[in-house]
Amino acid sequence: MLRDRHLGTLVAVPRLRLWLASAALAVSGCGGPFPQSTLHPHSDFARATDVLFTEIFWWAAAVFVVVELLLVVALVRFRHREGRPAPKPTHGHTLMEIAWTLAPAVILVFVAVPTVRTIFATAGDAPPDALKVEVIGHQWWWEYRYPDLGITTANEMHVPVGQTVQVAITSADVIHSFWAPALGGKRDAIPGRVNRIAFRADSEGDYSGQCAEFCGASHANMRLRVMVESGPGFAAWVEQQKSGAAAPPRASLAELGKAIYTRSACIGCHAIQGVSPGIIGPNLTHVGSRTTLAGGMFPNDSGHVARWIADAPALKPGSIMTRMQPPLTDADVAALVAYLAILK
């Protein structure tokens, strides 16, 4: 994986961040937090791109200052004034031409060498003991599969801190792009093709991201989260996800909800282990354990779940989860909400 390079330039990173952050603050008048900032890396992959960007940024800043300064000086110094002799009709200067051809070329070498090194360092290779996660983009939600653990979930990826994660990205329909900025750069999810990235998160947290390739009506509503947990926390999550679907208590509202679920169109698209095998929509076996709903659009609370079940397209443009025909009664919806809530 990534070796610790650019130690010298790491010093520059906090300075850049300070500069950019303070500039952004000055303009925005608010202090964040910026949950999708690319300038707050929390993995080896994100750090490598950040270090590289910082280096290039300072080269660019230096060139910017020199060029704009020359331009301003020329404008001020050589304004037309009455009585000045006509300017000398100079046509060119070979040495100067050579100089300002070579100068940018040399700077670009200093940009290109670390660029190529970082390209190969972040090519997505991972050690064999890496945690494997398959990411499948759908219009407009993310499916995550953990092939070695037998887990399938949606929109919220859980990974342990300090362990390399090998992410294999593809799509079930159109092209999407998987992006959690704090953990690394984006990679497109392309049907018929598998792209790989690898990252090792270095601090626990709940990192947000979203689809970065335009993918249709609700492209804006295709958000995601990556929960980086401690080793034991992640192990507990895995245990929970590997267990079967929770059974509702006898004669409860949730049991009624399960009955409605099994006789409605829900089962055509959604999977609940031991209840329904649908593969079009998100797997709901542990939907109650997720914090958000509908591709990360809403908090996973009973109010939003109820509105979502009743009329998904009203909340999410283009959603293929249509209104049920005949419509569900409010009582049906309440029962379904109760059932989904116990599916922890």
């Binding site: 050589f78 392309i190 283009g318």
Partner: protein
């Protein structure tokens, strides 16, 4: 200012609708291009304002998701194909023949054909805004909504069943024909119709950049046409060029689109660079510094523009070797670009700079384009680009290049050549207001987008949450966009005011070095009463070895025959949008009707005696 007295007014030209419909005069066609493109520019700007209104606040509700997607698609498509390219074309048409000492372009009727095809393609695309009811949909429902880049497989029938994408791919095919015809026309014009003594290395820089641009047009447009025809076949005839289930890959579209798309960027920027290279010497009273180097670097940019397309695809996962190669070629393009910028500054250096509005815009071009170029270097580096691509950081970049660059360059051209094209000088006072409002507006609108992108806001999203922390930055950007709109209103007012009250322009209001300033403003229909003989690169200036040329006499010494107009270009051009209606309406006979009109027009055109 020139000391020569104003020339007598040009002989009256025929007026009326017929004279405009049948004109083959490059100057009139240039004006048609200008006004058509300017109106499309206003429409594209209106779309931008709606986009910015929606994003002014988090969770905006100005437009729906579907409308928003149509707005940003049409904004990009309109600005690239219907505003910037044809605004450049208006200067190619009006100015290039004057700069090379010609009486018209090589193929005047083909030139008229190009214009009418452009107009019909533009109308076809924009008809999608209002023709929803014809497709059993509401208004504002069937405009293209797949992005100006139209990525397959989202644009396949399976995922975009409506006529939206059909409008887009048919409109672009029609526009491509216009661009190709114009491209060949200007190449032949510049190579063959130069006045005696106008050697290639005496061409004005703007004409040189026009030539390079046209070579890019005739090589790049076939590529997107192939891509669009594949897409059309996929959508209408069930082929599978971009369908991965059938063993193909949607990435083919991305390669074809960007193989066109990157040269297209240079098609948009090179003419503006040419304008700047003409404006700076005039107003600093100094020849262009390093003329051959500026010309060669323009040619080099044109060539290198073909080897960088995959830098639009770094997140696609092409592998580390391809990424490294395309990173290197992309960075290399910064070298000839930097050379141009240094030569422009050296042109100003030591000059006697007059701060006209045209010079303001030319200098604004340099100042803003440098920012766009430098942010371009930051995403020439694939790992850095993985964080930046498809975010507002890239939106900032393209607007510094295409607005700060191309638009500023084209506006320099407007203020510079307006007196030549209309016979009246635009108000300099209003011009300065326009410049400073636009300069401040664009930096307010686009500079915050760098931060918005780095803070994680993707582009092409119709809504964002307040939790992202970019609400205030977005509001500032929206304020900037509306400030730009105000500046454009000042420009429009300047146009209107100048029409009646503008100061009449002499032959040469600026003391220019090139041939277009040796003839009346506006020029007579035959341009040059006597074709000039050119002895050096700056024919109208006194240099070490030459005095200024004598301008052609105001009255032609011998009668000049000028060919009349022709109906057949506009008739032939009409056939193309009719053919495009066939797939839109799924009606075969309409295709035959359109083809018949096209063939009839071409047949009559071919057998029309030219000297009518």
């Amino acid at each position: 200012m020139s000391d020569a007295p104003p020339a007598p007014p040009a002989p009256p030209a025929p007026t009326g609708l017929k004279s405009w419909l049948t004109t083959t005069d490059h100057k009139r066609i240039g004006l048609l291009y200008f006004w058509t493109a300017f109106i499309f520019f206003l429409i594209g700007g209106l779309e931008a304002l709606l986009i910015r209104a929606q994003l002014a606040q988090p969770d905006g509700h100005v437009v729906s998701a579907e409308t928003y997607n149509q707005l940003f698609t049409m904004h990009g498509t309109t600005m690239v194909f219907l505003a910037l390219m044809p605004l450049s074309a208006s200067f190619f048409n009006y100015i290039v023949p004057l700069q090379i000492g010609a009486r018209d372009v090589a193929f005047p009727r083909l030139n008229a054909f190009s214009y009418w095809v452009f107009l019909s393609g533009g109308l076809l695309l924009n008809a999608s805004w209002v023709t929803g009811p014809l497709f059993h949909a509401g208004m504002l429902n069937v405009a293209p909504d797949g992005g100006w880049f139209g990525y397959a497989n989202l644009t396949e029938r399976q995922f975009s069943p409506g006529p939206n994408i059909d409008f887009w791919l048919l409109g672009l095919q029609v526009l491509g024909i216009s661009s190709l015809a114009a491209g060949f026309n200007f190449i032949v014009t510049i190579l063959n119709l130069r006045a005696p003594g106008m050697k290639m290395m005496r061409l004005p820089a703007f004409t040189w950049m026009t030539l390079v641009t046209q070579f890019l047009v005739i090589t790049a447009f076939p590529v997107i046409t192939v891509g669009l025809v594949f897409l059309m076949f996929d959508r209408f005839f069930g082929t599978h060029f971009y369908v991965h289930e059938a063993g193909a890959t949607p990435l083919l579209w991305q390669h074809l689109f960007w193989l066109f798309g990157h040269p297209e960027v240079y098609i948009l920027i090179l003419p503006a660079m040419g304008i700047v290279s003409d404006v700076l010497p005039t107003f600093s009273r100094k020849p262009l510094f390093g003329y051959p180097v500026v010309v060669y670097s323009g040619i080099l940019i044109g060539f290198m523009g073909w080897g960088v397309w995959s830098h639009h695809m770094f997140s696609v996962g092409l592998g580390p070797i391809a990424d490294s190669v395309f990173a290197a070629t992309t960075m290399l393009i910064a070298v000839p670009t930097g050379v141009k910028i240094f030569n422009w500054i050296a042109t100003l250096w030591g000059g006697a700079i007059r701060g006209t509005t045209a010079l303001h815009f030319a200098v604004g071009f340099i100042a803003m384009f440098v920012i766009g170029g430098l942010s371009g270097v930051t995403h020439a580096s694939p790992p850095a680009d993985l964080q930046q691509t498809d975010t507002y950081y890239v939106v900032a970049h393209i607007h510094y290049v295409l607005f700060g660059g191309t638009i500023f360059g084209l506006f320099a051209g407007i203020y510079y050549w307006w007196p030549k094209m209309t016979g009246r000088l635009l108000s300099e006072r209003l011009g300065k207001w326009h410049f400073w409002l636009q300069f401040v507006g664009m930096n307010l609108a686009f500079f915050p987008m760098h931060f918005i992108g780095l803070l994680g806001m993707p582009r092409r999203i119709y809504t964002y949450g307040p939790d992202l922390g970019v609400s205030t930055l977005n509001l500032v950007s929206t304020v900037g966009a509306f400030l730009i709109a105000v500046s454009i209103l000042v420009l429009v007012y300047n146009f209107v005011r100048t029409r009646r009250h503008g100061q009449r322009a002499p032959n040469d209001p600026w003391g220019g070095a090139t041939l277009e300033w040796s003839i009346p403003s506006p020029p007579p229909v035959y341009n040059f009463s006597v074709i000039p003989t050119v002895a050096n690169r700056l024919p109208r200036w006194r240099t070490e070895h030459h005095g200024p040329m004598t301008d052609p006499p105001a009255v032609p010494p011998a009668p000049i025959h000028v060919p009349g107009g022709s109906w057949w270009p506009v008739v032939a051009a009409l056939g193309l949008p009719v053919m495009a209606l066939a797939p839109l309406t799924h009606t075969l006979w309409v295709a035959f009707l359109g083809a018949a009109v096209l063939l009839f027009g071409i047949y009559r055109w071919a057998f029309e005696p030219f000297e009518v």
